[in-house]
Amino acid sequence: MSVFIVEVRIHGRGGQGSVTAAELLAISAFKDGLYSQAFPSFGVERRGAPVRAFLRISDSKITKKTQIYEPDYIIVQDPTLLDVERVDAGLKEDGMAIINTPKRAEELDYGINTELKTIDATRLAIEVLGRPITNTAMIGAFAGATGLISIGSIKDAIMERFSGQMGEKNARLAEIAYERMR
């Protein structure tokens, strides 16, 4: 039996790299010596449509294969999703929501009752990458906010996934977001 298992649900829109975010977090956790599992919500992929990706991290082998209904953490890549769906559905009371928005947590009138952290990942992504692709910023923010995964492993995973300058820029973006959230 697992001593600990952490369940994370990532909300984004098609094209924002939510599935890649879950994959990178799974690889990073594995690099830290943990077991991990990532999978998409298996929708019909369409750019801009709401998508979900799932992540489990544990200190022992993960056997569960179901979707995640009571996450410990949610990561919201796109603030406009807050108008569309209850991204916090099932979020555990002692859980945490990490939301990409220019607003401060106390300005966000959404009714999330758990711990809430915000980061302007879109702005950071435009500054560092020149494009509003926020997934690497959000996984850096997740590592910073939770302390569950080392930034070193996240940067390694990013550098393996994206070659050359693209990798370096995304790794830098993840680190900036990580520092912001600590």
Binding site: E23, F42, K64, K65
Partner: protein, 394 residues
Amino acid sequence: MIMRKVVEGSIAVAHAVRTIKPDVIAAYPITPQTHIVEKISEYIANGELNAEYVRADSEFSAISILVGASATGARTFTSTSSQGLALMHEVLFNAAGMRLPIVISVANRALSAPLNIWNDQQDSISQRDSGWIQFYAEDIQEAHDLLAIAYRVSEDIEVRLPSMVCMDGFILTHAYEPVELFEESEIRDFLPDYNPEVYLTTENPLTFGALATPEYYTEFRYVQTRAMERAEKKIAESLKEFNEHFQRGETDLLPVHGPEDGDVLVVSSGSLVSTVKEVAEKLGNDGFGVKVGKMLCFRPFPADAMRKIADGVDKVIVFEKDVSPGSEGAIFSEVKGALYHSENRPEAYGFAVGLGGRDVPERVLEKLIMECIRGERKEGFHFGDVRPVREAIL
């Protein structure tokens, strides 16, 4: 040295295929199988796999090409799903009848209509009489590992039947997990090269699958059935040898998880087994003795092993991702068929769940198992997670 990496299920399968080194791959893309053949074509383009890759114009052509290639003594592979496997249907019987050890990776997906790209196991279950061996993988590691076992059993001179290694579409093909990937050198020791005694050449023309009149046809089906019986023994042996060789994987044809003296047996297949195990463990903590039987192979059907693991239980519950309208779930029928010949016939409950990609959460399975335990369900077959519907009867 063990190479352990977090990879997507499809990539793990493609990697296994690369180390197994088929000579001919013919493929036609279909969701959710596509990543497998895409990755294999990349290996070939990069020079990491030396094989003939044929982009067929349909799944019917893809499997037909493999029939021809396999008859010449080539090791062959393809992958498909759903309508693709259905389109292969006719040729599947030919491959088995000609005793060609073709191996297919099936990314299980629902059949139309209505169009649905998501997971259930109706596609491969519907091919049960084709003479193909059918394996069902519980996780990505097993989908990767079973390929080596499938080739070894299929190519065995005492078997020579084709195999499909089934993995739940999306749930396994598109998930990322740590996987111990084959090294080429270690796979060589477990899986010898395929060198059939009889094969087609231009120097030695032969006929495969020619007309068999009523005087002969029955005997061909008979010997296929006999070969399938031998396959059961070969699979059991191969599992044990694989485990010795790689220090992982199941060692039984019908692995059991949970208390040996449990009075409830739950049988399932594929990725659902993992969730069933979690539920059984939880119910065990609540004081209920629930053990789980994992249907690792559906063909050959492990009837003896099924009787053995059901010996002494009060209730058998089957969860499966298929249904035969007008009858019941196919696995349920076969489990009951096996238990008819046992002394203590337990009560039997069958449930179709997770059709067309509907997620099967633990609470659904727990509720259904508890309803059977408390006697709140009638024996027989049910839809386990159906919503209320109003049928328009004109």
